[in-house]
């Protein structure tokens, strides 16, 4: 039996009290326990930022890497061993800004990993600059006259690149988020959960209360996430009403399925054969 306490460690948590990341980590632990996955059976990979610190606050295998680079690291890890169960924790700046090209490519490859983007619509760790997902007009100490670029739309971008699992979660609804994580991990192929995550220190617009007034659960509307056009519409819905839940789901061959060399199992489990090398010289 895996217990939620198995996932607790003694490392000091460094988030601000009330940060939305607490909801994310609670949902993750809950989802892992529900799937009876023990800490040594999971690998968390993250980049840099407040979100990317999450793996340190959980007892498990982890590799916190570079700003923006968690996805190629995870892709490489899966190339080596596609039996690994990998969750990537990333921030909106980390994933959609610094790592934008990797995000596009990971979706297109359909690497079988679960990507959780803690989207607080701001750069938390570097103290409140605008992020790629900040809404137009949002004022920060750097963007003194408000953000002047269109926000990056992760769900629509992922959908248009052929993503097979696209969901939006809310850090203020742990139970629902846990359900999404379980579904995402069960999905064969790349799965994205963009998580609306309040940043109590730097985002004074998109607060818990702001979200609570607006979010509604797709599961409660009878929506079935297999209609691509409808998914695109929902992905763009923002403002007074914001959908959370599974926006789109479609299983397709994964990156790993499509590599002939991986048919016989993880590449690290294959045998070295000196005679094959010798044959190169004949």
């Amino acid at each position: 039996m895996v217990d939620v306490n198995d996932y607790n460690n003694e490392y000091e948590n460094k988030w601000c009290p009330g940060c939305g990341n607490f909801g994310v980590i609670a949902a993750m632990k809950d989802a892992l326990v529900k799937q009876a996955i023990a800490p040594h059976q999971i690998l968390l990979i993250s980049g840099i930022g407040q979100a990317a610190k999450l793996p340190h606050f959980m007892k498990c295998n982890m590799f916190q890497t570079l700003h923006g680079r968690a996805l190629p690291i995870a892709t490489g890890a899966r190339m080596a061993n596609h039996d690994l169960n990998i969750i990537v924790n990333s921030g909106d700046g980390d994933c959609y800004g610094e790592g934008g090209n990797h995000f596009l490519s990971a979706v297109r490859r359909n690497v079988d990993i679960t990507l959780l983007v803690h989207n607080n619509k701001v750069y938390g760790l570097t103290k409140g600059q605008a992020s790629p997902t900040s809404d137009m007009g949002m004022v920060t100490k750097i963007q003194r006259h408000g953000v002047i670029s269109e926000p990056f739309a992760p769900l629509s971008v992922a959908l248009s690149l052929g993503a097979g699992f696209v969901a939006r979660g809310f850090a203020g609804d742990t139970e629902h988020l846990s359900y999404l994580i379980v579904e995402a991990m069960a999905h064969r192929g790349f799965s994205l959960i963009d998580i609306l995550q309040p940043c109590v220190s730097f985002n004074k617009v998109n607060t818990y209360a702001w979200y609570k007034k607006r979010v509604y659960k797709l599961e409660e509307t009878g929506y079935r996430p297999d209609d691509f056009e409808e998914a695109l519409r929902l992905a763009r819905q923002w403002g007074d009403r914001i959908p959370i839940g599974i926006v789109y789901r479609e299983e397709k061959p994964t990156f790993e399925d499509k590599i002939p060399g991986l048919k016989e199992g993880p590449i690290i489990s294959r045998r070295y054969d000196a005679s094959k090398v010798k044959q190169l010289f004949t």
Binding site: P39, I42, P72, G261
Partner: protein
Amino acid sequence: MSIDITVKIGGEAGQGIQTVGDLLALVCRKAGLYIMAINDYESRIRGGHSFFQIRIADRPVTAPHHKTDLLVALSRRTIDLHEKELAEGGLIMTDQAEDGEKENLVSIPINDLAVEAGGKITANTVAAGVCLSLLGAPFNLYREVLSEHFSKKSDKVIQDNIKAAELGYKAVEKRVFHRAFHWDFGQPKGMLMDGAKAVAYGALAADCRVAAFYPMSPATGIMAELIARSDVFPIVVEQAEDEIAAVNMIVGASFAGARAMTSTSGGGFCLMTEGLGLAAMSETPIVIVNAQRPGPATGLPTRSSQSDLLFVIRASQDEFPRFVFAPGTVAEAYESMLRAFDLSERYQVPAIVLTDHYMHTSVWLNDTELTVPDVVERHIADKPADDPDNYNRFAVSTSGISPRIIPCTGEALIVSTGNEHREDGHISEAIDDRIAMVDKRNAKMKAMTAEMAPPEALFGDAGTLLVGWGSAGGAIREAVELLRDEGYDAGALLFADIWPFPADAVENRLKQCKRFLMVEMNSTAQLGSLIREQTGLAHSGTILKYDGRPIYPVEISDGFKRIME
């Protein structure tokens, strides 16, 4: 009489001059001869001017020769550009001139003969046939090579090519070329190899399992070799979205337990430097091949250089141990890959193999036996399984090496990060942790330095030593021969192991000579600077070439004489 003949085939990109060269090389190999061939081309797919230059000899040759005995001109421009390189009595074979234009000109209607043989596509076979006939090669030898070379094609293709060969031979039947010789040198002396192949084979012999790259000349050839063999070997190769992804993919793959490599050239290496730092900080072994080309930014994409030495030694911020190898021959390139993989795992540090365009695209007949390990030792700890709760990925030790495990293979948990960290892998900003981790990483340097081979000495007790590294070694070797034949007291020191710098051995060697001169393919003598930094010894002259073209032995011997006067 010793055989040393240079054939140069010039034409436009897309004309297949490389095929002519390949056929000549195969016939020479079969005849028991040695060859060394260079490929010169522009960064374009069609048109322009390119050439393939093959040196044929009855003993090992390590560099190209500056004179051409037989110039095969498939374009008018080839004659204009290269006529002046003709050796005394040299011939030009061309389809570009009217008959009898000049005495040293053999005019052959190559395309017409090809059409007669079965199609224009056999023109290269005709051209090679003309060359071989002029050089006195037995026709049977050529026929056998053609049958082998086209063995996977249809009978018609083979027959057409043999016909083309015959027509080529016949066309110069009556011509006497004074460089013709008797082709009888016994069994093949080894295998034809270019640097790209040597590096790729080395990686396979080292049991590399994952490779990721972003296309960039001249490094892509390595990946093409690996991909071509991925049905037989357990290896996955991925074309990444950029070099940043490529290096991080291999860090991820290595972290997950696979030997992993990437290859690139300078510009791509620039993008990889942060990932290099991550490998260092997380003590994840990786191998990066940097195939140098000249110029900052995009530079000269299809030319060669040795100008990244100081860059790769220092690349990425802060300080950390790494290995840097700069092989000088194809055999060394192969062995460097074996060592790079092994040492990077043994010490849990990144390893960089510095090659260059010249090495990657030139072909040598390698007669050195290459190591094939029977087992590949992975340096992975098994102990943590006994006591998983007390496993620390970055446990401090006198050697600086901590037990490395593979995630999800047991109960022990691996915690790793690119941030500065504690022994257990969690982030720490504590003063003690920072100092302990820097010291731990640096502690590896002592044993790493002991792994480095001293530079190879040729006539090491000579008064004046030519000092170089990497692929310039071949030309330096021959320059020493030239100089000694002329009575100069010259020797050489050739570096293949660059970093950690084998300072003591170098100092001992250099202290014995009267003076040493740096021979490098860069404009500031980078190895010279490094030697001075590491040993306090200064060179007294330089022979530098940074035009992107290969260096010829005579350029070095001439430079030597200029300095000595």
